[in-house]
Each structure stands twice: as C-alpha cells, then as structure tokens.
Amino acid sequence: MGIGRRVFLKGLGAGIAGVTSGSILTPDKLGATESAGSKEIAGSEEFMGVLIDTTRCVGCRSCEVACAEAHNFPVPDIEDESVFETPRQPTESQWTVVNRFETEKGEVFVKKQCMHCNQPACAAACLVNAMRKTKEGPVVWGENCMGCRYCMFSCPFDIPKFEYGKWNPKIQKCNLCWERLKKGEKPACVEACPEEALTFGSRRNMIEEANRRIYGSPGEYVSHIYGEHEVGGTGYLYISPVPFEQIGFPTDLGTTAYPEYTTGFLFSVPFVLILWPALLSGISYATKWKEEKRKEGGTR
C-alpha cells in the first residue's frame, strides 16, 4: 500500500512537472540521452572524450582526410600549405580543420572541431531535441531538426554550420564519429593521427593523462587543460606549450555551463503560469464588484 502510494505520488509529481511546461528540468537533465549499445564502448559509464596534445601535432592534416572519408565529404588537398596562412573554421563540408599559430615557442598546430561540451548550449537551445548530448558523450544532430539555427546562435565556440541555399539544409558539425563509436571503433581522426597527438578515452582518464604529461614534463606545457572547466567542461581537452589565447582559444568564456544562463528564467515560468492567472482573476473580481456598485448606483 505504502509503495503504491509512493508510486502514485511520483507519477503525480511527474505529471505536474509535465503540465507546468516541464521547464523545471535542471540543465544536467537537458537533452534526451540516447543509448545505443553502450556496453560496446569501453568506459562509457561516463562521457567519452579526446585529449589533444598540441605539442605533438605536426600539422599533417591526416585527421582532416580521415574525417572527410568517414563522413563522405570532399577530401581536402593536404599538399596545399596555403591553408595555414589564415586560421580556418570548420565548415558545413569539413567538420575538422588544423590551424597553424606563430607563438613565442614557434609554430603550434591546433586541430579544431566541436568541443562536445558536457552541458552543450546547442542541445539546450534545440526545441525539438534534434541536437542532443548522448549518454556516451558525443553531441549529435538528428533529422527532426527544423533549421531554426538557435544552436548556431548559442554555441560559444561557433561550431554548428548550416547548409544555406538548400531546400532541406542540415546542421553540420563533428559528431565524434558517433556511428563508429557504436561499432566499438575509435573516432576516425584519432585513429588516423600518426603522431598520437589525439587520445580517445573516458573524460576522466583523459584529464588524468593530461595532468600526467603536464607534471611529467615541466616547462613543456602551460599548467592548464583547456576544456576541463571551460563552459562547464568539454569532451575535447587540449594541452598546450603556450597560453591558450596565443593559439586561438577563447579564454573569456567562464566555467559556467551555458544552459545555466537560462535556468533562472525557466524556473520562473511555472510560478508565473500559476500566480498570474490567480492574480488577474482576483483583480478582475475586484473591479467587477466595483462596476456593479457603480451601475446599481446609476439606476437608482
């Protein structure tokens, strides 16, 4: 009996939460998680991620080629060195790019792609859960997208790209090779890297590995893992020989997860939904009484 009542109350609570527009969800519950044979991915009890060691990257762009081949995009010409002249952004037909930066310690190559945030702004922005954070870590896009581009507007790293000028445009961005992960394989870029600049594993292990390298070779790295705390933590983690602003990273994003900027507003929604009608009905009742009085007075 007691259990029955508890179940009933739970159901009631969930029902009320649903009725009041469901906006009382906390950010870590945002984005439907979808598991697809999670047992096949080792260590996927927590988010999977990639550690990028920029001291090891030589700018061979093998990752760009592997990415293009894995996702049926035009394969970039890696002989062409001119692409390094100005920093590039991932595009709608190229999910990852390698950029070259001149720093105080010489040339540093940095691979750029979706950061796969722990609490992604893009997924919180999406009103149909087309963009979502999977349980395993990748932030992936789905066909039920309506193309509103709120994810692009919100992403602190400006990663999602839109296929303008098509009748059925898609949002294009790195999906951490979600389709390969489901088969138990590593992301294509990680597998292709000849210098082992990219390491794939659980986020916790990647942070440990990063710390091991930073402490193991003093002077070789700055003591900071980009993505450990930025915007609430990201799936891609970077270590660098120079301060991160020298290699094109935004360093003013803060450590608050972006969806949390909207929770204050969302929390207020159920209150307004309940209090406003009550308040307005009350005022209406009061003015009605007054009007009646006035009319009665008028007829006498």
């Binding site: 702004a121 999406c126 149909v128 039920n144 509103c148 692009m152 839109f162 445009p169 507003f265």
Partner: protein
C-alpha cells in the same frame, strides 16, 4: 449610437458560401497610393519566397557567422513587441474594466492576432526545414529545456487566445447570434490566459539571448534582458496602438463608432501616459544595469555612441515627449514620440539579433540584409496591413456592433444588475448579507 440595423441572416450553407463570396470582392478604391506601392512589393516578395523555399538560389545574406537576420530580428522580434499592445489593453479593458479604451480594443486585438499569424509565417520561412516545425507540437522529442520551445508553444496558444478574444466580431459579421453569445463568455478567460502567456513569451524572447553570452555587446547583454524585453513590449505595443489609431482614424473615417470619434483624443492622451510611465521604468532599468555592469568606459566607443543613441535619443527623449504631450493634450507631440519610440524598439531588437551581435567583426564581413530579404520582410508587413484592412472594412472592428448584439449585451447587463435584488438563492442571500455589513 447603434450599428447596422439588420444583421445578415444566413439560413443555410448555400447562403453562407454566397455571403463569403460577396464579401471577398474588394471594397473601396483600388488605386490608392498604398496599394500601388505595396502590391508590386508583395508580388515580388511572393516570387522570392518560392525561390527561397525551393533552394533555387540564395535569397538571404545570412552566413555561418550571422545565423539570424532581419526575418527574425525585425519580423519576429519587433513584430511581437509591437503586438504587445493587445495584452496591455486587454488588461486595462477587461481586467481593470476601464471603459475608456473600449472603442479601440477590437482593432488592437485584431492587429495583435494578425501580427502573430504573419510573423509566425516569417518564422516558417526563415527556418530551413519548416516541415519539421510540427515536431514542436507532436511527437516524443520535446526540447522542454529550450527557451525557444517555451516561446513556440506560447506563440501558438496566444494566437488561439487572441482569436477567441476577437471572435465575437467574426460571429457578428456572420450573424451567428448563439455562437456569439457563447464566444463572449470565453473572453475574460482568454484575456487572463493571454496576458499570462504574453508575460512569459515577451520576456522569453529576451531570454533567447541569454545563451549568446560573450557574443552580444556587454552594454546590451545582462541577466535582466527578459525583464527589459517585457517592459519594452508595453510601450512598444502601446506606441503601435497610437500609430495605428492615427492612421485608422483617417482611413476608416466613415466606419468609426460614435464612442471612438468622441473619445479618440482622450484615449490617445491616456495611452501616451502609459507609454511615458513604461518608458520611464525601462530607462531607469537601463541606467541601473549600466551602473551595475560597470561599463562606463565602453560608452566612449563606437558601440557606446550607438547605445546612447538608442537609450537617450529613442527612449529618454520620447519618454519626455510623451509626458509633455499627455500633459498639454498635444496629439502632435504624442505622435512624434510614438515614431521615435517605435524606431527605438526596431533598433533595440535588431541590436540583440544582428547589430550588437559579434560586434567585433568588421563591417565588410558583417551581415547586411539583401534586397530580397528586405522585400520579403516588407511583404509580411503589407500582408498584415491588407488583412487588417480587409477585416476592418467588413466586420465591426471600428464601427459599433450590430443592433442585435448591442441589445443582447444590454440585456445581459440588466439581468446581471437585477440578480442580487431578486435574492432567491442562498448565494444571493449571502451576497446581500455581505453588502449590508459593508
């Protein structure tokens, strides 16, 4: 003064069709300056829409850097702010029961309803995969944590609420007496529901920008954007009511009810006062946020000057003009203030979505709307005006309701007034007791 003497009596479906067909014919002059300008633009807009939707050619200047253009920044953001007049005035007329503004309530609600319909249309054109918009309403993949999800639902529900509010006019047009009686009973509920929804989605539109932290200039970005949007929607909406009133006053001259004509000036002055009050609160909020944000030094930059133009030139000054206009009952002053305030809203909403967004990007790489985008944006505005005119020419929007409707309302009121005196039921007896105690 009572309106049309006899209502059209529609007995069967055949007559209904005949009536609708006869009403579809244009009324009034066809070759007016407004028609001559707007018709070609609308035609061109329709062609461009087809080109855009089929992906035949790129109509917009949107880019990966600037995903939102004027269809969002102007049509949706500004359009919804301007439509705010409906929730403010329904509050004043139906909740506070101020009879003074009754003559303009239908025009305002109709305008609000049409604005939502056509600017939701602009939204449908803007999104890349409009057939998936239905996913917001059906299916099992709701993004309940998304501000946009909330805004989308509220848009839709609010459209329904506004339609219920304006529906008695439709029933009067069709001569549906019993339907009208039923619809009138829904009005107060729809109004209360509508005000609640408006509070949430007017501020929700501001909350959309919360996650663009770092991308919107710090003079504009703050945690209080939702409140700023809500407060500014009050004077944006009322400004549009004054603006629309100034035009309707001339265009629908022979349609205006006696009450409308006699109280027109009083109403405009009163609305000016509301605007002045709301703008003062808004200006004060802006000032507090500026001080709290500690952004004084930013004022002496190009974006700072732009900010000052908006906040001083298009908020503080019109606020003062509204105050003076209301004080000296000067309609010209109020109209000047209205235009300035409306311009301020257009610039404010565009700042959030386009101008102060990624302000560091040089002008040559910035989003500037294409001619096609502007034509389509104007097309939506013109369709709105055409639809408004079509309805206002045929239904009792400005003119008094037909005689049968007025009689019915009076009968209702009498019943209502006599009710406590009959004192038959317990409830009425109780009421009497309470009244005696008072």
């Amino acid at each position: 003064m009572k309106g049309k003497a006899a209502a059209v009596e529609i007995k069967n479906f055949k007559e209904f069709v005949a009536f609708i067909l006869s009403e579809l014919k244009p009324k009034g002059k066809l070759l007016t300056p407004f028609n001559v300008i707007s018709a070609p633009i609308m035609l061109l807009g329709a062609v461009l829409m087809v080109i855009h939707l089929t992906g035949f050619a790129e109509v917009t200047h949107l880019s990966q850097e600037f995903p939102w253009g004027i269809w969002i920044g102007f049509n949706v953001m500004v359009g919804v702010a301007f439509a705010g007049g409906a929730y403010v005035l329904t509050f004043v007329v139906y909740v506070l029961r101020s009879e003074k503004y009754h003559p303009i309530i239908r025009a305002t609600v109709l305008n609000g309803f049409l604005a939502y319909v056509f600017y939701a249309g602009a939204l449908a054109l803007d999104v890349g995969r409009p057939w998936n918009m239905v996913n917001v309403l059906v299916g099992n993949s709701f993004g309940v944590g998304s501000i946009l999800f909330l805004v989308a639902w509220h848009f839709l529900l609010y459209m329904v609420a506004e339609f219920i509010e304006i529906s008695p006019a439709f029933a009067e047009w069709l001569g549906w007496k019993r339907v009208r009686k039923f619809l009138c009973t829904l009005t107060l509920g729809a109004v209360i529901f509508g005000i609640t929804l408006s509070t949430l989605h007017q501020s929700g539109l501001g909350a959309l920008f919360m996650m663009a932290k770092g991308k919107i200039h710090p003079l504009w970005y703050s945690e209080y954007v939702p409140i700023l949007f809500l407060v500014s929607s009050i004077f944006a909406g009322i400004s549009l009511v004054i603006f629309e009133g100034s035009i309707s006053h001339r265009v629908f001259k022979d349609k205006l009810s006696y009450e409308y004509r006699t109280s027109y000036k009083d109403m405009m002055v009163g609305l000016g006062k509301i605007c002045a009050g709301a703008m003062f609160v808004y200006f004060f909020l802006k000032l507090v946020l500026l001080i709290h944000g500690g952004h004084w030094s930013l004022l002496n930059t190009p974006m700072g000057y732009w900010y000052l133009i908006e906040v001083v030139g298009l908020v503080a000054i019109p606020c003062f003009l509204f105050l003076q206009g209301a004080r000296y009952k000067n309609l010209t002053l109020i109209r000047v203030a209205t235009v300035l305030a409306m311009l301020g809203i257009v610039i404010n909403r565009l700042n959030y979505s386009v101008i102060a967004y990624k302000w560091w990007i040089p002008f040559s790489q910035r989003y500037v709307p294409s001619l096609g985008e502007i034509v389509i944006a104007l097309t939506f505005v013109f369709i709105n005006i055409w639809a408004f005119r079509w309805i206002a020419m045929r239904m009792p929007i400005f003119e008094a309701p037909p005689a049968w409707a007025v009689e019915e309302d009076e009968r209702e009121e009498e019943d209502f007034a006599f009710e406590p005196k009959l004192g038959v039921t317990m409830a009425d007896g109780g009421k009497k007791m309470v009244e005696r105690e008072r």
